[in-house]
């Protein structure tokens, strides 16, 4: 990777809005790497958490927002609670994800998490409480993993751990109101949940897997 540093990149509005919006002083980070050392998922990441912070420090917005790392953060807060400079790394990850949404910069391989989040929120918006079957069904349908976890389903029904119908509550209006007023919340609803790209990706992945197995 080569990155040209100049007056403009260093003073990019990206860094400033980030510091303002999530209240974290990025320049405080002295790159000790304790966040990466304790991260349970860093083995899967394309950049370690400390590298993401470093890239933010250098104003590399595009690279950061299109990284896999930010979608792999499980929000377990290990980094935040151990940071010697008291930087809320998890909050910064949240912020970056939110920004990636609004900028439509999710990398093609990482569409599942945002899709799931959208379906989840849509689900709450409709029912007030989570309707698991709806969530799982919808997610599987839209992500192209039609039969994911299907084997688990009968047991879940038998044990009455998952209901066939959503809960009925009398306050669906009030929930919708909250969603509407929370600013850009409408976006979750209006955004197309239909993601042909992801569907195609997952289906072809399945196909390739099957072919591999046949070999």
């Amino acid at each position: 990777m080569k990155w040209f540093i100049s007056h403009e990149t260093i003073r990019s509005p990206f860094l400033k809005t980030l510091e303002k919006d999530c209240g974290e002083k990025i320049s405080h980070c002295y790159q000790c790497g304790k966040c990466s050392a304790g991260c349970p998922i860093s083995y899967q990441m394309d950049y370690l958490p400390n590298q993401i912070i470093r890239m933010v420090q250098l104003g590399m917005e595009e690279q950061v927002l299109s990284s896999k790392t930010i979608w792999l953060c499980a929000s377990c807060l290990t980094c935040t609670s151990r940071c010697p400079r008291q930087i809320n790394v998890a909050e910064i990850m949240d912020y970056l994800r939110r920004r990636a949404y609004t900028k439509h910069m999710t990398p093609p391989g990482e569409i599942e998490v945002p899709l799931f989040n959208k379906i989840f929120l849509r689900n709450i918006e409709l029912h007030g409480r989570l309707f698991e079957l709806g969530l799982i069904g919808m997610f599987n349908l839209l992500s192209g993993k039609f039969f994911k976890d299907v084997a688990l389903a009968p047991r879940m029904f038998l044990k009455r751990k998952i209901g066939l119908f959503p809960h009925k509550i009398n306050n669906s209006k009030e929930v919708k109101e909250i969603f509407k007023k929370s600013g850009k919340l409408g976006r979750a609803r209006r955004d197309k949940l239909w993601q042909p790209k992801l569907l195609f990706l997952n289906l072809s992945r399945k196909l390739i897997e099957r072919i591999e197995r046949l070999k």
């Binding site: 290990t78 912020y95 998490v113 799931f116 959208k118 929120l121 047991r155 007023k181």
Partner: protein
Amino acid sequence: MKYAYYPGCSLHSTAKEYDLSTREVAKALGIELIEIPDWICCGATPAHITMHLLSLALPVKNIIKARAMGSYEIVTCCAACFSRLKTANYFMRTDDEHRQKVEQIVGEPYKGEVKVRHFLDVLVNDFGLKNLKGNLVKELKGLKVACYYGCLLTRPPEITELDDLEDPHLIDDLMRTIGVEPVQWPYKTECCGASFSLTKTDIVLKLSCDILQMAYDEGAQAIVVACPLCQSNLDLRQSTINKKYKKDFNLPIFYFTQLIGLALGIDGKKLGLDKHIVPPAALLGEKDKLAKI
């Protein structure tokens, strides 16, 4: 002892046995839990990843509903709900800018004054271990468990204010009180990957496998949890983990309330012990702790 009870979505579906056992234990101990009428989802992880304000507004709405019930503290059992409610409270207390925005969304002033408690905290600190001991019908002798706290109960400490950050002990204390032996193990607060349960199942399998392995290695016969997401990852996905990583785990994953319920002499079925995917009957029966469920 009266509390406003916020079960949360999981306790009404995948973690029904957590809800059942909590209510049973509370009833047996004379702790009154009054469910918040018309409570709504706290937004969980998807909300704070997607829209910050929403992730504050949803919990605050619930807290305001609880406030309307009278001057109760809120009790919740779900670690994720607990974390979201506490975080929202923290923002309302300390961040004027966010408070004003959220107040506008929920349409009511709120300054973070209602206390949010975890049921663990209520049992240990309000009810008291000594008091609990006095109420026991039997002790669950001979059972060795790993107490697993997960991410959200202790982190970040300034928000959760619940237990020791790196070496929490509330569940261990409760287990010791009912005669169960907690093993010392280092993965008390490791992450199981909860929020990726559906989206990145591979990660969940790997992390959960590590946790099961560590508990097994340190001699635990079961894992005791206080979070519905941890439970479902470790229990529901245990067979998949066995298949994928060629393991042979057979570790029942209990909610702490279930084991306390047993020690209080409550029938296993009432505690939802039949709802487990990894059946606990063998372990409990073999140890001759109670009648077969």
